[in-house]
């Protein structure tokens, strides 16, 4: 397995798309965070409470989640697009080992970059807003949550890439499942509609990062757990198909 991890590590860092998507992810976190923080600071003379400052600084996560999901998609779909998957499978014929290698390498890379980017956004945002007090414990939990949430979004992309095997198709699916459908479920009527919306992908998962959507069913970790179930199910379906299908 260590051989496969080394190989996947070489692959992920030797293409420009990795650098680009990671840079865009970090850039969106920092840029949008700073922008919103400045706007908030300029809009009022009153003190902005610490918890709200934290949330405002990390608003970029909505957009950053899409660029990290794109990287997740590309980790596998670029191999299908170019036909390089055949070379990979000739080298590692045990397909689940290859997929595991990709998941592990992506997860570690993404966790590192996304957590650092989140921490930096928070620091910049707080420096701009200057809240009267800041709960450090809560700030750290939020930063860790953002790193985890973004990485989960990337893994969702990787799962969809494995399932769809087609870059644009997988990216569109990711946007639909992570951004569009969660908003639409919010419009569903009644208690059933409320439950569906609360359980839907990022509506549940976002609770661990920045609760941009009000979720009455889940706290941060249970919500994240629900999101992970979505990702795991998608990944398992993708893995089963990867085993079965001709490469």
């Amino acid at each position: 397995m260590i051989d496969i991890l080394r190989s996947e590590w070489t692959k992920i860092r030797s293409v420009r798309s990795t650098m680009w998507t990671l840079a865009v992810t970090a850039g969106l976190m920092l840029g949008i965070g700073a922008l919103i923080a400045s706007a908030a600071r300029g809009s009022t003379e009153d003190d902005i409470p610490g918890a709200q400052a934290v949330m405002l600084s990390l608003t970029g996560i909505m957009f950053a989640s899409l660029s990290i999901a794109t990287l997740g998609v590309l980790v596998i779909s670029s191999e299908y697009r170019t036909g390089g998957i055949r070379t990979s499978l000739m080298a590692v014929p045990k397909r689940m080992s290859l997929l595991t290698g990709k998941i592990v390498v992506f997860t570690v890379t993404s966790l590192l970059v996304c957590t650092v980017a989140s921490a930096a956004s928070l620091a910049v945002g707080v420096a701009i807003i200057q809240p009267p007090s800041l709960d450090m414990g809560e700030a750290v939990r939020t930063v860790v949550g953002c790193g985890l949430y973004l990485t989960a979004c990337g893994l969702f992309g990787l799962a969809l890439g494995t399932l769809v095997r087609h870059t644009p198709g997988a990216i569109v699916s990711a946007i639909a499942l992570m951004l569009v459908l969660p908003q639409i479920t919010g419009m569903l009527p009644g208690q059933v509609g409320r439950t569906v919306a609360d359980h839907f992908t990022t509506n549940a998962g976002m609770q661990v990062a920045v609760p941009l959507v009000r979720n009455t069913s889940f706290g941060p970790w249970s919500g994240f757990g629900v999101y992970l179930v979505w990702i795991a199910v998608t990944m398992i379906v993708g893995a089963v198909l990867m085993r079965r299908r001709d490469a």
Partner: protein, 296 residues
Amino acid sequence: MTAIRATNLSKRYGTTVAVSDLSFGVEPGRVTGFLGPNGSGKSTTMRMILGLDRPSGGSALVDGRPYAELKHPLRKVGALLDAKAVHGGRSARKHLLAIAQSNGIPNGRVDEVLQAVGLREVAGRRIGGFSLGMSQRLGIAAALLGDPEILLFDEPVNGLDPDGILWIRTFMRELAAEGRAVFVSSHLMSEMAQTADHLIVIGKGTLIADTSVAEFIGRSSQGYVRVRSPRLADVAELIKVGEAHHDHLRVTAMSPVEIGTLTARAGIPLEELTFVQPSLEAAYMELTKDSLEFIS
């Protein structure tokens, strides 16, 4: 030991049969040509041998085992399927490095194979900008990484210039001379005539011939005797089995001795009496004419 062994190998896509009940073996120390018209199932067969496609029936074993069960497959088998099927954004060196690492092959081997195929100078360049010839060389470098005993090449000369073709041909012969099993597919008989020792010919996914190159030519019925004479019409009447061409007769049912004896008795002068060897190309065309997917 037989390097590659296909036994009753079959592959169906829905109702389309790509490969049907195919059995053959590839032996070490020689170049085995895998010949068939386009769409006859050569690539599908190779992908099944390499564990990329799942057979609908039968089995393909490499060194006695299914490919997927080899621990470090690249140390046993090297293959070039499609030279352009690589991520164009990676440099040649990084591309090979990732492949080498996956099979625990030392990093130093990357520069060795780059040297061997003549790509050392462009090792740092992105593969996307490579010409087809360079890509083929890179694909061969990848196949050689693990110093494998068994090599598979799918149409390696397609789209190459004469220099490149000669280079690959020589290379394959050298690999076989070192005792390796070389299995190379082509739809061009003339190409195989110059490279292969042994031929496996398929058409519409079924085996047509599994034979040495010499035997393959000999087996064909396409040889004929060419007869020229100032009195060609008399010759034709005499032997009765000739087929008239504008200035000569072609006879397939009689030997030159029989024709010569007959015409000498009749006192007809001959200008030419030649047995024309069938070409490999003609032998191949004849064998596969019933199995062409599309007749143009």
